[in-house]
């Protein structure tokens, strides 16, 4: 048995370690008023509180962008990296320390554009981590440039006469990646749905990818309904294995039944032009092998002394 410090012993006996929301609060967030990122932050903090997650057991990794400031505002371990590369750092953390929980936050430019390669391959590795992409359909931190998910015809600083490329269908891209194991979509302004989606993602073993439609009132107010009003341009997916749909949403938007274990059905929904953004669990497959587990299974677990002995055996082969 490990020896415990006195305080730890008392805490353990009395079960006084009771994390409150404050335990997860880092620096004061510096996003703009009305920014959708606030809602995502408090949703994650609430989930941690409800799940009583030990703050030291979490590493939040991000790239660069408004959204990537996230780790600063969360009182866990945090790594605010470089633009587009969050998935690689996160993969490293999990491979290095499978005992830690990894949360990745990225913007749409961060993930789908500059980080495109790492996004696709990260999904294919299916390393155990929760990935949240805050998709405001714009480059916000650099002040209003077109992003891969910006709707065709949108005027931005780099496309003043309207963007010419059709927006990227990131859901259907991901459903085409071998090993995709958890793919959900939610929105920053549908609180109950957001909470439930993040919680489901957190409990998934493998890469749980959540695209969060996020309001940026500064640069893309037009993207998801007018002026912050909850005019919902989306369709809810209903499934007993999926994300429960609250009663309030039933009146707001159409609901379709969807079996989240059916990849073909998921692809059809993702490809449907006439349906607005589907919210819910699009695809779920808990039996996909998890990369960190597979990779670690290839290595023998040995003591340092044994390692020296085996290294000596290796050196024997080179000895004249």
């Amino acid at each position: 048995m490990e020896t415990l410090q006195l305080e730890e012993y008392i805490e353990e006996q009395c079960e006084i370690k009771n994390y409150t929301l404050e335990d997860y609060e880092g620096d004061v967030p510096r996003w703009c008023k009305g920014c959708g990122d606030f809602g995502i932050l408090s949703s994650v903090q609430k989930m941690f509180r409800d799940e009583q997650v030990a703050p030291e057991s979490v590493v939040a990794v991000s790239g660069i962008g408004c959204s990537s400031r996230f780790p600063h505002y969360l009182n866990t371990y945090g790594f605010h990296g470089i633009h587009g590369r969050a998935m690689t750092i996160a993969t490293g953390v999990k491979l290095g320390r499978p005992d830690l929980k990894v949360l990745v936050t990225m913007g749409d430019g961060d993930c789908f554009s500059i980080g495109g390669g790492h996004w696709l391959h990260g999904m294919r590795y299916n390393t155990d981590m929760t990935v949240l992409v805050f998709d405001n359909e714009i480059y916000a931190l650099t002040k209003n440039q077109v992003s891969p998910t910006t709707h065709c015809g949108t005027s931005t600083n780099t496309t003043p006469h309207g963007s010419v490329l059709k927006e990227m269908n990131v859901l259907s891209v991901m459903l085409g990646i071998t090993n995709v194991s958890f793919l959900a979509q939610t929105a920053s302004w549908t609180p109950g749905h957001l909470d439930k989606t993040i919680r489901a993602a957190w409990h998934h073993k493998g890469t749980a990818f959540v695209r969060i439609l996020q309001k940026c009132p500064i640069f893309s107010p037009q993207a998801f309904g007018q002026d912050g009003k909850v005019k919902a341009p989306f369709t809810f997916l209903r499934d007993e294995n999926g994300i429960p749909v609250d009663k309030v949403f039933e009146k707001m938007a159409p609901i379709i039944d969807h079996n989240c274990k059916d990849l073909e059905a998921a692809k059809k929904i993702a490809m449907m032009e006439e349906t607005s953004s589907p919210l819910g669990l699009l695809y779920y497959n808990p039996s996909i092998p998890v990369y960190n587990e597979e990779l670690h299974a290839t290595a023998d677990k040995i003591t340092p002394e044994e390692k020296v002995a085996r290294l000596n055996e290796e050196l024997d082969k080179y000895t004249i």
Binding site: E56, V59, H80, R85, G92, R97, H118, T298, K307, I320
Partner: protein, 619 residues
């Protein structure tokens, strides 16, 4: 029969070349091993065809080994080749074109091509040999294939053994040891196969005895300590395991890949993992994430991969995360010469990142150092929370050298990952004003929750745009380099400690330089040389060492303009990389001699360059 004449030698260079797939490499490695067992030192270089399946009987298909044998320790591939065994004239031609053969080279070649049905082959065979002969070569045309077929039907599967037997005779090798070696190669095969191969070996021995009326004797003294023979990439990989690295994250690139192949082998048995990432950016990203989380991790690459990693190199410096990056240098720029040596990545390693990014750069000079450098690199990376770049090269990567078997202990391993609680108020960048050092907090430690950011930050790890804080953070990161520098010792000078010329170098060119220095000193010239294991920070005392010589010159393998080029003058001349750094570091007028031949410089080439420099009137 008359006893063959015995020719005593201190050292010799022998090559064995054939078409890819004809087994020269296997035979040559056995020859090298037996020579080492008998007590010769050696340096072997692989001769690798440029394509995976080149057409046979062409220069491009030439495959084999070049072995320098010596009665004294060797640190490099030496000068021109003295003996070459070739299975066809095109293999031979590729070595002639590479300017690798001495004028009086002894050639042993299969004579079957002299009577080939194809007239072009007959003609080119004759022309190539005649040409060599007029230059002074001593040529033995031997029925290698014909003789092989007296024992087996398919000569492709045995003539390498016949050739090996011939080399065994020529170099007076102990045929019992050679036969044992052959049996051990085929130990998984039947007794019959083993016997057949030994019979082929004996056949070759007898064939050589009938044809060649002399034998070489290279004095050998069995080694007092156990020795290992391996190439530099294997040494890096073994050194990495011995250093306690547990993860390697990589993307394949020549000539670095074989180090990661070796690591993949070792790690499986020794509790580590190799992650093949989607590109070099991801490779370093994963390595950084893993080391940040406490796991000793390295990434191994070559020039083009280093170019892709630059933004992450900066992040490593900014976040003060320990990391070791091995760059097995090849010819550049761009794809350049993928399989060939160059020392072209010194300046880009130092300066590729935006802003000021102080980092440690180390360069092993031989294969033994490739092993030991990994242990030092990990310790520095962790103790100083710094990026350590290890620059090896294609010559070290594929060359094989003998060196004393390293002693292993758990002491070179790091302590287990720290999971102890962090006292309240501990800062993630609690810089010590004098040393710049600070305690690293590792994720998972209770109470230590903090942010690690690519943005400028305060000791608390918080984003900070304050002018003074930015100045301070830079100073602290720079200070660590100073702290390390103070712990380094003044480099040793080889040869004369003062005199007319000091040669400065780094990396694997040290061996041939020291040999050139030896030869000049034998003629009474006052010359010394110094090799820098640390390129960042430079070791202390360089200016003082330089001041003891009339002239200082760097010799290295990257591009510089030659003084005797009529287009070059004081204004236009571009210096080689190390000389550029040393000029600014010491304000001494350091000259340079550098080449980008895609191969190491030979001691005699360096000797010529140094002689010229010594004879020069002005500095």
């Amino acid at each position: 029969m008359k006893e063959p004449k015995k020719i005593k030698l201190e050292e010799h260079i022998v090559e064995f070349v054939c078409d890819a797939g004809e087994g020269a490499q296997k035979a040559a490695v056995s020859f090298a091993k037996v020579s080492a067992k008998m007590g010769n030192s050696l340096w072997t270089v692989e001769i690798i065809p440029s394509e995976i399946q080149p057409p046979p009987h062409t220069m491009g298909s030439t495959s084999g080994n070049r072995i320098r044998l010596s009665s004294k320790p060797v640190t490099n591939g030496g000068n021109l080749t003295n003996v070459v065994v070739a299975f066809n004239e095109m293999n031979l031609l590729s070595r002639i074109k590479g300017k690798m053969l001495a004028n009086d080279v002894v050639v042993i070649i299969d004579n079957k091509w002299a009577n080939d049905s194809d007239e072009t082959i007959r003609k080119q065979y004759r022309e190539i040999l005649d040409d060599l002969k007029t230059k002074g070569a001593n040529i033995y045309e031997v029925p290698i294939e014909e003789k092989t077929m007296t024992l087996i039907d398919n000569p492709q599967r045995g003539k390498n053994m016949v050739a090996l037997g011939m080399l065994g005779y020529l170099y007076t090798r102990d045929m019992d040891i050679l036969a044992d070696e052959i049996r051990s190669i085929f130990k998984k095969k039947s007794k019959e196969i083993q016997d057949n191969n030994v019979a082929l070996l004996t056949l070759g021995y007898e064939l050589a005895k009938e044809t060649i009326d002399f034998q070489y004797v290279i004095e050998s003294t069995p080694f007092k300590v156990p020795m290992v023979a391996m190439n530099g990439n294997e040494a890096v990989a073994l050194g990495a395991v011995a250093a306690g690295f547990e993860h390697c994250s990589m993307y394949p690139i020549t000539p670095a890949t074989s180090a990661t192949h070796a690591l993949s082998e070792y790690f499986g048995r020794m509790g580590g993992i190799v992650h093949q990432a989607e590109d070099e950016i991801a490779a370093i990203g994963v390595a950084l994430g893993s080391y940040y989380a406490g796991r000793p991790t390295l990434t191994i690459t070559s020039g083009p991969g280093m170019a892709l990693k630059t933004e992450f190199l900066g992040l490593t410096v900014m976040t003060e995360t320990p990391l070791v990056v091995v760059d097995v240098q090849r010819g550049g720029p761009s794809t350049g010469l993928p399989t060939k040596i160059e020392q072209g990545d010194l300046l880009s390693s130092l300066f590729s990142t935006p802003g000021d990014a102080p980092k440690v750069i180390m360069a092993p000079t031989d294969i033994e150092e490739c092993y030991h450098v990994m242990i030092t690199a990990r310790k520095i990376a962790e103790e100083f929370r710094m990026l350590v770049i290890v620059l090896t090269d294609a010559n070290l990567a594929t060359g094989t050298q003998l060196y004393p078997r390293p002693k292993l202990s758990t002491e070179s391993f790091p302590l287990p990952i720290d999971t102890s609680p962090i006292p309240p108020g501990t800062k993630p960048y609690d810089w010590d004003e004098e040393t710049g050092l600070s305690r690293r907090i590792i994720p998972g430690q209770p109470g230590g929750m903090c942010r690690t950011t690519s943005l400028n930050h305060s000791p608390e790890g918080k984003v900070n745009h304050d002018p003074d804080m930015n100045q301070k953070a830079h100073r602290m990161r720079s200070r660590k380099l100073m702290t390390l520098q103070k712990s380094l010792k003044k480099p040793d000078v080889y040869g004369d400690k003062e005199g007319d010329l000091l040669v400065v170098s780094w990396g694997s060119i040290k061996g041939p330089i020291d040999e050139a220095v030896d030869n000049l000193r034998k003629e009474g010239k006052k010359v010394g040389s110094v090799s820098l294991q640390f390129l960042s920070p430079f070791p202390p005392g360089l200016k003082e060492i330089f001041s003891k010589y009339k002239k200082v010159m760097v010799v290295e393998l990257n591009y510089s303009d030659d003084w005797d080029d009529p287009m070059v003058n004081e204004d236009t001349r571009r210096y080689s990389q190390l000389s550029m750094l040393l000029r600014s570091h010491t304000l001494v007028d350091v000259d340079c001699f550098s080449r980008v031949y895609g191969r190491p410089l030979m001691p005699m080439e360096i000797y010529d360059a140094l002689s010229k420099k010594l004879a020069q009137k002005s500095k």
